[in-house]
Symmetry: C2
DNA sequence: GTTTGACTTGTTATCATGTAACATGAATAA
DNA sequence: TTATTCATGTTACATGATAACAAGTCAAAC
C-alpha cells in the first residue's frame, strides 16, 4: 500500500516524506475516521512537530493526492481504501457504531453531474456522505 | 414564506418565536450561506443575545424543521428555498463567487440509497454537495 | 386565577477545529 | 556552490461548537 502510494506520488513529482508517510500509516492502521488533532497527538508522540499545521498540512497533502479523504460530516479524515480507482467515492457513516464504509459511487456522481449540468453548473468535486445504520446495527435494532 | 413556515411549524407543535423568525429572515434576506457567527452578529445588533448558543439553537431548530440547511463543506447555514417539497436537496457551491444553488436531487439520492442498500446499509440522511463553477463564472473563465 | 411543568432564552466558560505568517532546514537544479 | 524551491516547525490567532446553569415565558390542569 505504501509502495503504491510512493509510486503514485513520484509520478506526480511529489514526495512521501516521513511525516506524510507516518500520517498515512496512522490513518491506515486505525482504519477509521480520525480528527486532525488525534492524528497530531500521535505524530507529536513520535517526535514530529506538535502544532496543528503539522497535521493539517500532511492530511491536506494526502487528500490532494487521493491517498486520503476528508469527511465533512465528521470533521475528520480517513485513508483512501481504493486509491486511484474511482475517485468520487461515497461514504456511509453508521450513526450507532461510527463504522465508515467507502464505496465507489460513479453512478451517484454521474447523476449529480448531469443534474448540475442542466443548470449550467460544472461540478469539480463532490461530497457524498450518508448517515444511517450499518448492517450490523440495523440487525441489532430490529431483532 | 414566513407564513408558510409558521403554519408548517404549528402543525408540528413548534413555535416560530422572535429569535427564530429573525434568524430565518436573516438567512432569507442574504440568500447565501452564512456562518453561525455572522448570523449571531446580526442578531446581537438587533437586541437578541450575543452568545453563540443563541444562534446555534435557532439555526438548529430551523434545520430540524426543514426550514434551513446546514452546509458541511462551508460550516455554514442557508435558508431552505423549497421547504417541504423534496427533502434531499443537493447543493452547488461556486468556488469563484460563493454562489449557492439548491436543487431537488431525488435521482441522486435514490442512486445513493440503492447503492448503499447493496451493502445492507440503511441511509437516513444524505449530504450531497458539489464544488465547481456556476454558469456565470464558467463563462467568465473561458471567454 | 394560580400553580405546575415544559419550553425558550440568555448567560459564562470552555473546548474543538482550522489557518496566517514567519523562521529554519533539506533537496534540487543551475 | 549558490540560488531556488519545497518542507517542516514555530507562535499566535481566528473560527466553529457545546456543556451547564439561571431566569423568564407560556399553556394546561387544577
Amino acid at each position: 500500500m505504501l509502495d503504491e502510494a510512493r509510486d503514485r506520488l513520484a509520478a506526480n513529482g511529489a514526495r512521501l516524506t516521513p511525516v506524510r508517510q507516518r500520517t498515512l500509516e496512522i490513518l491506515l492502521e486505525s482504519h477509521r475516521a480520525m480528527g486532525a488533532y488525534e492524528v497530531l497527538d500521535r505524530l507529536a508522540a513520535e517526535g514530529f512537530g506538535r502544532q496543528p499545521p503539522v497535521a493539517y498540512r500532511a492530511l491536506e497533502f494526502l487528500v490532494e493526492h487521493g491517498l486520503a479523504h476528508r469527511l465533512q460530516r465528521l470533521n475528520a479524515f480517513a485513508a483512501c481504501l481504493h486509491p486511484g480507482h474511482d475517485h468520487a467515492p461515497a461514504f456511509l457513516i453508521c450513526r450507532e457504531c461510527d463504522m465508515l464504509a467507502e464505496l465507489p459511487a460513479a453512478p451517484v456522481r454521474d447523476a449529480l453531474t448531469e443534474l448540475a449540468a442542466e443548470s449550467g453548473f460544472q461540478v469539480e468535486r463532490a461530497t457524498i456522505e450518508a448517515l444511517g445504520l450499518c448492517p450490523a446495527c440495523a440487525g441489532a435494532a430490529r431483532p
